[in-house]
Symmetry: D2
Subunit: 134 residues, 4 copies
């Protein structure tokens, strides 16, 4: 029996306009990368987030925190590890580790809590079909 | 009788993450500023673009061109002149001039053609209520 | 004797491409707004962050956290309260409250810790001239 | 003898915050994709743009134009064709075609002219080492 993955590693190359005049990846862009991690984890689980939205299941970030340890630079190839750390009826917690691929240097760690809502913004249970709810 | 304005000047301050590691406003961000010019011109005409969208009238950019003459830097205060240069049943052309406020240096000029579409992406006439169609 | 301000309120209007297909301000953009709050607080204190960078004093975000309570929408006018909550030799903590201006609804709260570094990324003391270090 | 490539195809997946509340890739983001095309074309030619910048050779966009034919949506996999159409001592022209990968639908075409400048913004010859100048 195949096991549903609860973590995934993806590679991301830093784009030019993601870097600010200090020459480092702007702290706001990390959240875009973390979202890409969640999307690809869902895909690895057999789901497409775009389809969830069409079925009126939206995942919104309820809270988040991050520690920035070392900067990333333009054109750096990064490895993002995204992991589900907790899930409930209506929420999922993820943890993230972003590393520089060339030497494995840990650049940042972060956590988010995602809530499942409908288009009206009301909290709704994560559909059973998503499967990874215990 | 009050005349409907066909141009507007707005001020924009360059934000930190809009500037790239060359220390200049990234060329892609200008289009965000030009869109702000269109939004404020509409508002000066008594319309709110957000309301148009609710009435299923979407303005999409069909084509555009720009000349970049001098760079803008972080924290620069800019003046954007937005002007309607042509309008038809289903499209509006705008021209833009972006200047540095302190000395009036012309940074960029641009043009866009906006098409009026519904949520299905079909070209639709610009509603009469918009008024600025001749 | 005039007192150096340790907090500031600024207004921000939500831009079109800052909103995602859910129709809400994307969670990553809040950090851009919070940075604008820090910039304007510095300006109210008589400093220009761009000048600090020229003097080789860079402020980098070392850690951050946020709670998202209610969504913001396109064209909403928001009020951002930015406040220094703690400062040391090499770091400053800020707290943020983002509200919808029309009715004062609290949309999000957040905290950041900023570290003072030079271009090589080494932690350096915040210059005395900045003044707000006790 | 191996020939230096003058065009390249890359794949890009549309990210969530690149899409606006119309549900389509915002017109400003296309320029970020086109820049990625130029970066990867340089890499295929054996150069890394980040290294050029370290050698005080900056490529800035002098002018651009685009036609938007069909929208791209969140999570769409796109194919970007980037091609050098003209090059001189100090400038390079590129043409772009962005297609939806699944069915080859042409979404947009565009052109840019890139100028070679130094950190002071002065036009400089493209270094011979770049090689693709005839």
């Amino acid at each position: 029996m195949s096991k549903i993955p609860t973590s995934i590693d993806i590679e991301i190359r830093v784009r030019y306009p993601e870097v600010d005049q200090m020459g480092v990846l702007h702290h706001s862009r990390y959240w875009v990368y973390f979202e890409m991690g969640r999307t690809e984890l869902l895909r690895a689980q057999g789901m497409v987030y775009a389809d969830l939205e069409k079925a009126d299941v939206l995942f919104v970030v309820a809270n988040c925190s991050a520690k920035y340890k070392h900067p990333a630079h333009y054109d750096d190839l990064l490895t993002l590890h995204t992991e589900i750390t907790k899930h409930g009826a209506c929420r999922i917690d993820h943890a993230y580790e972003l590393k520089r691929k060339s030497d494995g240097l840990l650049l940042a760690t972060a956590q988010t809590t995602i809530a499942s809502v409908n288009k009206e913004g009301r909290i709704i249970p994560i559909p059973d079909s998503i499967g990874f709810v215990e």
